[in-house]
Amino acid sequence: MTDQASLERGYRRLLACYPRAFRRQNGQEILAVLMACAPDGQRRPGLAESADLISSGLRMRLHPSVPRSARTVRAAVRLMYAGAAVSTANLIILLAYIGDIKAYDAVYAVLGRRLTAAQVSLLSHLNSQLNTALITQAVVLALVPVAVWLWMARANGQGRNWARSLSTVLFGLATLDLTGVYRTPGIQLEFVPTMLGATFPVLTWLAGLAVVWLLWRPASSAFFKPQGSTQARHSPQQPSRIRSPHALPPRSF
């Protein structure tokens, strides 16, 4: 394989980090620029260049560009990322508590006889709860809201109408969950302090309320297109003067 062909293959592989719609639209073009920037004899993408392509591509996947004109949607998308951040903090605190209880176990081994009966019974109760299956379940359940926030941020940012409806439904479920009318299937870990246990749901619920309000503002509705034309922005814009005479065959990356 020639140097050029192997370099191009390397770049094509890296371009897979970008969303497919963007790749279809701009992939050829970026590839041409990458090849033009590469010095002669380069066989594979450089480290800094690769990092730039990977981070730009992932950023675009995770955070689609919402036009400045759709300010309410931009605000809603930012709030959803904040929701994801709060849920991640929740997960981290959960892990820290699990770590703490595991440490108590070690403390008990050393100080066993010096602990009061109440402390011993609390520790053994907590430890009996903490089997691997339960920890795994708790962590997975804490990961779900993070994933849902990110998913909704992305889909709403891409102007998908179903995402707006689904966000609203999810918010409804969160409301029922918070008010205790309905409990989402899951487990409540007793050792997570009640203060945190109550703060996080309320915080994320408030974020959700603001998101739903923003998404249904009249200013947002122009951004949400009817289903089927959601890719409108990435479909080729009509070049104003010359249209290329020979259309490029679609190339798969």
């Binding site: 701009n26 050829q28 400045r68 003067r241």
Partner: protein, 106 residues
Amino acid sequence: MQEATFMILTALASGSQHGYGIITDVQEISGGLLRLRPGTLYTALDRLRADELIGVDREEIVDGRLRRYYRLTPAGASRLGAEADRLQAHASAALTRLNLAAGTAT
């Protein structure tokens, strides 16, 4: 406005350019200090297109590869103008104060 964005708009201010042209032009304008990487460039271009500050001028095929030329929209030109004014005001304020300080020191 980020520096890369400002420089891309500046590169397009005098006429349409394609991606590689923007990179070399930005490097020249910045005196070799700012070398945009293609990934960064296209992320910025995507955002600028979404905001309708730039648009596609035309497409060409060169050596079997697609080359897309971008141009500034009127909205882009006015954003760039406003940003340039702001930066100029800040720069001249800085220089004025430095001169004042130099004046009082002597």
